[in-house]
């Protein structure tokens, strides 16, 4: 009974909403609001395997490349800056300033500097996504428990072992927070870099549909972008669960007492 109730609660509203869209839009004559069945139909026709290979995968590749580079660079610099107090004091205002830029303004500057190729688009994603990761990593490294640091010192755990088991792990909740903040930025930057530095890619294609007034295809593109967002956030959650299992377990335990 309780299981049934939970399933009903979880699926009820989404089903109702999709059904409302489906039936409410059925037979729609409005040029800009085609029926959902038309959109689904267009989706199947538009996003074929070739289309994925030509337009979608290159976009996703740039997205992931830029995002991962940003995470790696952000964590590496964050560990360095967080470890040395003077470096942090020196750089913090600069970083806060750079972080305050709305990342989309980077696109025009990057186009000026390096054209409209893959490099520009990846660079833009890296530059937009690195700040949340970097600043959160600094916080994480700084906020590490002193007793743990002392433990490592007394037991002479040093070098790479210390980096792996103390520095990175202790900062990992903050690192994940930063990476979570960066993910939607990466998607935004992927899409608008493709719209502005237009020659190919998912964002470019969807906008072409809009410009050519291929409305059902455009809607299907909007759906695809939405699905990509959902899938990426699910993947992120899976990664987070395996990475931070200890953290959530510990916090759940603390709340009980």
């Amino acid at each position: 009974m309780r299981f049934l109730r939970r399933v009903l609660l979880a699926l009820g509203l989404p089903v109702v909403l999709v059904a409302a869209w489906w039936f409410g839009s059925a037979g729609s004559q409005d040029f800009y609001w085609p029926s959902l069945s038309t959109i689904v139909d267009a989706f199947g026709r538009t996003w074929t395997w070739e289309m994925f290979q030509e337009q979608v995968f290159p976009s996703l590749w740039r997205l992931l490349a830029g995002y991962l580079i940003a995470v790696v660079v952000g964590v590496a610099l964050g560990v360095l800056i967080g470890t040395y107090g003077s470096v942090r004091a020196l750089l913090e205002p600069v970083l806060e300033f750079l972080r305050a830029f709305p990342p989309p303004v980077l696109v025009p500057a990057a186009i000026l500097l390096s054209g409209i190729g893959d490099r520009t688009k990846i660079l833009v994603i890296v530059f937009g996504c690195v700040w949340p990761v970097l600043l959160n990593t600094i916080e994480g490294v700084r906020g590490r428990d002193e007793v743990l640091s002392d433990t490592c010192r007394t037991y002479r755990v040093t070098g790479l072992l210390r980096l792996r088991h103390l520095v990175l792990r202790a900062a990992s909740p903050q690192i994940v927070t930063g990476a979570r903040q960066a993910l939607p930025l990466a998607i935004i930057l992927m899409v608008i870099s493709e719209i502005m530095a237009a020659n190919e890619g998912l964002g470019f294609t969807v906008l072409q549909f809009q410009r050519g007034f291929q409305i059902p295809e455009m809607w299907s593109g909007v759906l695809l972008l939405g699905l990509i967002g959902i899938v990426l956030s699910l993947l992120f959650r899976v990664a987070e669960r395996s990475l931070l299992g200890w953290y959530h377990g510990q916090r759940a335990g603390q709340r009980e007492f």
Partner: protein
């Protein structure tokens, strides 16, 4: 062997110096179980951190087994008061015990063996796969003790290790520490604020004065080597020694506190 000679520790604030440890001299011979007690805020933890090489002394000399301490010395392990914070929450119990051994470059098989032995010695063989935060406070402190045992130190420092566990668990852990010390033959310096605990555990009790800290009393505990929670604690000699330490601490507390007592 542990030697402390004219140890001073001054915390330097801008424009204000706070003396935490005044002029401290004592020696703990090889294999002795020495307890350090003193009124709260008397710099016990500062002393322990200097001994462990975690904090530089302002002046004076600390040597462990003949080598002056400038950094955490080898062959020295510490069990911290904050068990919840000294274990790595992202490592399972066994990995926590093995990490220091890994840092020494010890092979996997030997690590496993030492860790198993240590966990068995503290009675935790069955939870080696759990995370520390899944265990009770007392069990977590046992893990920390197991980590120290597996490290095979020559000198073991314990900083009020049982201050945060309940009385029942505390008695068990005290007996555990006694048996570990007897088995390993380590030099053990045990810092506590609990007079009963100090007299029950140690071969010797060093009473510190209020800050700036000096040795106020150095007392040999001539109780039989076999200690028992019931028998020892009802021994008239125990009561007498306990009374002596208590009186001395009260006397020290009443003495005019010097500057910086609040630090």
């Amino acid at each position: 062997m542990l030697e402390v000679k004219n140890l001073h520790k001054v915390y330097d604030g801008h424009g204000r110096r706070v003396t935490a440890v005044g002029d401290l001299t004592f020696t703990v011979p090889e294999g002795q179980f020495a307890c350090v007690v003193g009124p709260s805020g008397c710099g016990k933890t500062t002393l322990l951190r200097v001994l462990a090489g975690l904090l530089p002394a302002t002046s004076g000399e600390v040597t462990v087994r003949g080598t002056p301490v400038t950094a955490p010395p080898p062959d020295l392990a510490v069990v911290f008061q904050e068990y919840g914070r000294s274990l790595f929450p992202w490592l399972r119990v066994r990995a926590n015990v093995e990490l220091p051994l890994k840092a020494q470059g010890m092979g996997r098989a030997q690590r496993r063996e030492l860790a198993s032995e240590a966990l068995e010695a503290v009675g935790l063989s069955d939870v080696d796969n759990a995370y520390p935060w899944q265990l009770s406070g007392g069990m977590q402190q046992r893990v920390a003790i197991a980590r120290a045992i597996a490290y095979q130190p020559k000198v073991l420092l314990m900083d009020e290790p049982f201050a945060a566990v309940d009385a029942q668990t505390r008695a068990d852990l005290e007996d555990l520490v006694r048996s570990v010390w007897q088995r390993l033959g380590v030099t053990l310096l045990f810092v506590t604020h609990d007079i009963d605990e100090a007299v029950y555990l140690g071969q010797r009790v060093i009473v510190l004065s209020a800050s700036p800290t000096t040795v106020a009393e150095d007392l040999a505990i001539d109780l039989p080597a076999e200690r028992d929670q019931l028998a020892t604690r009802s021994d008239p000699r125990f009561t007498e020694l306990r009374g002596q330490v208590y009186a001395r601490i009260q006397q020290v507390k009443r003495a005019p506190a010097a500057e910086g007592a609040s630090a």
